[in-house]
Symmetry: C2
Subunit: 255 residues, 2 copies
Amino acid sequence: MSAIRGARERARIEVTAAIKDEARRQLAAEGAAKLSLRAVARELGMVSSALYRYFPSRDELLTALIVDAYDSVGEVAESAHRTAAPDGSAPVAHLARWVAVACAVRDWALAHPHEYALIYGSPVPGYTAPQVTIAPASRVGLVLVAVVEDAHREVGLALPPLTEELRPEAERLAADLAPGLPPAVAPPIVAAWAQLFGLVSFEVFGQFDRVVEARATFFRQAVEELGRTVGLLGAAARGAAGQRGAAGQDGRARR
Amino acid sequence: MSAIRGARERARIEVTAAIKDEARRQLAAEGAAKLSLRAVARELGMVSSALYRYFPSRDELLTALIVDAYDSVGEVAESAHRTAAPDGSAPVAHLARWVAVACAVRDWALAHPHEYALIYGSPVPGYTAPQVTIAPASRVGLVLVAVVEDAHREVGLALPPLTEELRPEAERLAADLAPGLPPAVAPPIVAAWAQLFGLVSFEVFGQFDRVVEARATFFRQAVEELGRTVGLLGAAARGAAGQRGAAGQDGRARR
DNA sequence: GTCTATAACGAGATAGAC
DNA sequence: GTCTATCTCGTTATAGAC
């Protein structure tokens, strides 16, 4: 009997996966707004009512796709974070790690443009994301926070002071998502998070067509600069090398 | 006869505007993917075939909406550029201008979220933007370039040196969109352009829900920092005030 | 010439009876 | 689960009003 239950469960998992695969195919062809349970069923040789045993509504299927996409890009970011030189000896290593995470996100987005559009593009009309999407949606952001936390612990951060105007928001943000970090770094991290996806979106959505050509290089340099705005200490590239550089970095204190 | 032609022309303009208005209403309700000529005609009390006198196809109607949206936000940005303190005496004025332009774009986006989604969100499936959208699409970017050009001319820019890897791209970009500026500033401007819209998109598309609260302040500070990455000289806020600051800025040369 | 209305096509979605 | 009758869509051809 447990064998039967096991087989049933396996079948259910397989069918669920097939449904999501087909739905993803339609996502690419027609867009999220036109995702239809019936079309998915037809393509799978099923009858539409049968799908309701797996997903109670079109919106729930959409939610599953969204969660999968967030988890997919989150996994990629976490993996890049794990892989990229956890060698904390050189301050530069943390900036390199930041860049590695950003490049992993970009690579995923270019490889899965439609899933990317689903989660970072225009909201689907008439659909409101349920609570379950919140945790997966924050995975990439949490990796960015983790990179900065490591750097803060091991080599310190170089940050401009917090303006009074932003202090309450900064303290709330820091308490929420990075209790170990100084409040001053929280707003820059959130901003860098949004800006990173601005770079990726412009590339994926075609805004860079006929504008940027050496996109990988361009992206890498841009996110490296972004890493500096969150306090990561970089190579001499930032300040005009030889003009400031050492002075600029020495003057920055661990906070 | 010229009176008749005038009247006809006026009527044509009015009907065209009514069609676009109704189409925009549908854009908000159903999304660009589901924009339908028949529904627009029905709502206007016309017959679908009559619309073809005004727009040769559904895609051309979409194109008109896209061009209008780009022009609308472009106009707002240009107006902010014109209005914001053309007083070039203080270096800070240019950074303030940069922030004013960015805030104008953000305000427009928050006021017209669906038109914003149309031009900066996911591409519409099956639709490819024709050439006519290119010029309107670049208006905001050109305003950003203009701000930097003014600053370069009047007070100079503070920029990190160009890495060898990025030099060819930078020179191509500079030649294309800002012949008066040093190549080193071209990639940062393009990056800042994308990053600005990253900030706006995250806010408009709801990514900041339950994360950022003081959004106007947060945005202003983020784009101010963005302005510094394109070489605009700012107030003392950047370098930890008193720690480096003066040294950091003096070391940066006009390029 | 300029416009609107009628009718139709082929493709696809949808609701409900069976 | 299946089938059918009835919707929607974009688009075109055609005829007639101004």
